[in-house]
């Protein structure tokens, strides 16, 4: 069947046209793309704010903004990046687009709920934006909303808290949808251990979304109640306990790190076998390490609170578990490297980004152990070291995995190919810029530079300047990458259905995929990633 106006084969992009056909679409692929465009706009906004903060720190003292503006900037940067970009990022974009296809389904279990989730997400994002401008008092609490300050600050904290609460709903609904989809809609023959590893990672992630997000939702509501009704939950002035807030906040917000990183691990686990043309090494350990990360990751929240006054017993308990959670992460790293070892490695842009992910995530992981250790944590807490560690995990991990994912699945999504040379150049800028931006923060953090300060001792100027130069290089890389992808999506060469010779189901259907993915639901006969056997009957 073809589109009569363009004579192209009918696919999810052209079977209906017009803005309303997108805004009312329950097609998981279109919803995935709507998430991607929304998230990209917010990501660029927050990245520009990050650049402005780096320019401010180019010289000691006030450079381009006041201290209060700087406080507002790092708060809005954090709220957008965490709640609107990285938490929903991979799961909402690539999970929505590829989960049903990879398990052989025509859509998610609840398509209307899926569209509703996107609208809830948009409502939360708009509320978040509004909080920055209403009454000219953007929130200045940081994205963690720590009490007692957030209980008494005169800025728009209530609106920002409500925004985070609403965004949490979108996350819960998406998680619920994915769990039911994976349980109920796998293709015939696709047993749990014949399911590809990206859906496995989404499954582990969805459970965290479903179970942890309500806790932070209720916690944020309690802060709102404290501010508006003066009920003493967390504010000592009202008889509350600020450490309880930190407990409840991190019970969600630490597992939220795994909501960000587990799908990232799933993405690169798809890329390594495809670009090595070799079965993934240790399928079962990778599955169980995902589940182990999701489970153990639940019980390590206290490592954010070592200096907050929690008991000594709690500190060693959380420190021990933090070291424990490194084990399943390390299992994955060894599996990825072993997958490439002896394979027919094809260093195309997706693999380049995926290898960078391992490098950056490993640095982030090791420095996480430094912070998880009780003695060093006291020295490093609330310094730039934490900022560097966090960005190596979140941006170096989730961010680079997102870049890997878009370069990997781009020809499937758009049916066109981007320019490899420009993709490699953008990778070079991004990788160099990233390390120049964040690595100096490790050094300055060890030397005692506190985070969230708009001013600094002149002895830090060399490091701060290097970091700002890195920010500019990174932004150039982003501009090149986005331009290349946008150009490729509109004018790139027509891509074949399976340009990377992948074996999972998304590579067995046309590019772009048809509206309902499969003419006939496939029957799975083997475990995935076997390059010598067909995956389906």
């Amino acid at each position: 069947m073809t589109n009569s106006s363009t004579s192209e084969p009918l696919n999810y992009l052209n079977h209906k046209t017009g803005l309303w056909s997108w805004l009312s679409s329950t097609d998981h692929k279109r919803i995935g793309l709507m998430y991607m465009y929304t998230i990209t706009i917010f990501f660029c906004t927050a990245a520009i704010l990050g650049l402005l903060m780096r320019i401010e720190k180019l010289t000691p003292g006030q450079t381009i903004m006041t201290a209060q503006t700087y406080n507002g900037m790092f708060t809005i940067h954090g709220i957008i990046m965490i709640f609107i970009v990285v938490i929903p990022g991979l799961a909402a974009v690539f999970g929505n687009f590829f989960l049903p296809i990879m398990i052989g389904a025509k859509d998610v279990a609840f398509p209307k709920l899926n569209l509703f989730s996107w609208y809830v997400f948009i409502a939360g994002a708009m509320l978040g934006l509004y909080s920055q401008f209403a009454n000219g008092h953007s929130p200045d609490t940081g994205w963690t909303f720590y009490v007692p300050y957030s209980a008494s600050a005169s800025s728009n904290v209530v609106i920002a808290l409500t925004a985070a609460f609403v965004l949490g709903f979108a996350s819960i609904l998406t998680g619920l949808n994915f769990i039911v989809t994976i349980h109920r809609m796998r293709a015939p023959g696709m047993t749990w251990f014949r399911m590809p590893l990206f859906p496995w990672s989404l499954y582990a992630t969805a459970w965290i979304q479903l179970l942890a997000t309500p806790i932070v939702g209720i916690t944020l509501l309690m802060v709102i109640a404290e501010r508006t009704l003066h009920i003493g939950f967390f504010d000592p002035a009202l008889g509350g306990d600020p450490v309880l807030y930190q407990h409840l906040f991190w019970i969600y917000s630490h597992p939220a790190v795994y909501v960000m990183i587990l799908p990232a691990m799933g993405v690169v686990t798809e890329i390594f076998p495809t670009f090595s043309q070799k079965p993934v090494f240790g399928y079962v350990p990778i599955v169980f390490s995902s589940l182990a990360i999701a489970l153990v990751g639940y019980f390590v929240w206290g490592h954010h609170m070592f200096t907050s006054g929690i008991s000594y017993e709690s500190r060693w308990f959380f420190s021990f578990l933090t070291f424990l959670v490194a084990i399943p992460s390390a299992i994955k790293v060894f599996n990825w490297l072993s997958t490439m070892y002896g394979g027919s490695v094809d260093l195309k842009p997706p693999l380049l980004f995926a290898i960078s992910f391992i490098f950056l995530f490993t640095i982030g992981g090791f420095t996480g152990l430094t912070l998880g250790s009780l003695a060093t944590n006291i020295q490093l807490h609330n310094t730039d070291f934490v900022v560097a560690h966090f960005h190596y995990i979140i941006f170096g991990g989730m961010g680079f995995a997102f870049f890997a994912a878009i370069h990997y699945w781009f020809p499937k999504i758009y049916g066109r190919m981007y320019n490899f040379k420009w993709a490699n150049i953008s990778w070079g800028f991004l990788f160099v810029g990233f390390n120049l931006l964040y690595f100096p923060l490790f050094v300055m953090g060890i030397q005692g530079m506190p985070r969230r300060y708009f001013d600094y001792d002149p002895k830090f100027q060399t490091g701060e300047m290097l970091s700002t130069i890195g920010a500019f290089i990174l932004i150039i890389g982003l501009i090149i990458m986005i331009s290349n992808l946008v150009y490729g999506s509109r004018r790139g060469a027509i891509a074949p259905a399976n340009p990377w010779h992948g074996v999972t189901l998304e590579w067995q259907i046309p590019s772009p995929p048809p509206h309902e993915n499969f003419d006939e639901i496939p029957v799975i006969t083997h475990e995935p990633y076997r390059f010598d056997h067909p995956y389906t009957k």
Binding site: L211, I215, L244, H247, L248, I251, Y298, F299, G302, G309, I310, S311, Y312, E313, S314, F317
Partner: protein, 94 residues
């Protein structure tokens, strides 16, 4: 649900469950008047947990589901209980 069958609970069962829930709610309110100190919260949580279990089992038809789903729901409650326990153990040792 097992084999996609529909299960209709009898009216008498539904009424019995409702009465039990109301009795437990009454006990929860009356328990405030007994001065148990810090244990008041523990008692309220135990009563609330029993009520939640009854609602899940009968009103939400968990008793008709297969063992895997029952275990998963049970696991969720266990996880939540452990998280709450860890938080309050910190208070005990502080």
């Amino acid at each position: 649900m097992k084999n996609n069958e529909n299960h209709v609970s009898s009216d008498s069962l539904n009424w019995t469950v409702l009465v039990i829930l109301l009795i437990l709610t009454t006990i929860t309110i009356l328990a405030i008047k007994i001065h148990l100190g810090a244990y008041t919260v523990a008692l309220a949580l135990i009563l609330a947990s029993i009520k939640v279990s009854i609602v899940l089992t009968y009103f939400m038809h968990l008793k008709f589901e297969n063992m895997l789903l029952r275990l998963m729901v049970g696991g969720v409650f266990l996880l939540f209980a452990v998280v709450i326990a860890i938080t309050f153990i910190d208070y005990y040792f502080r």
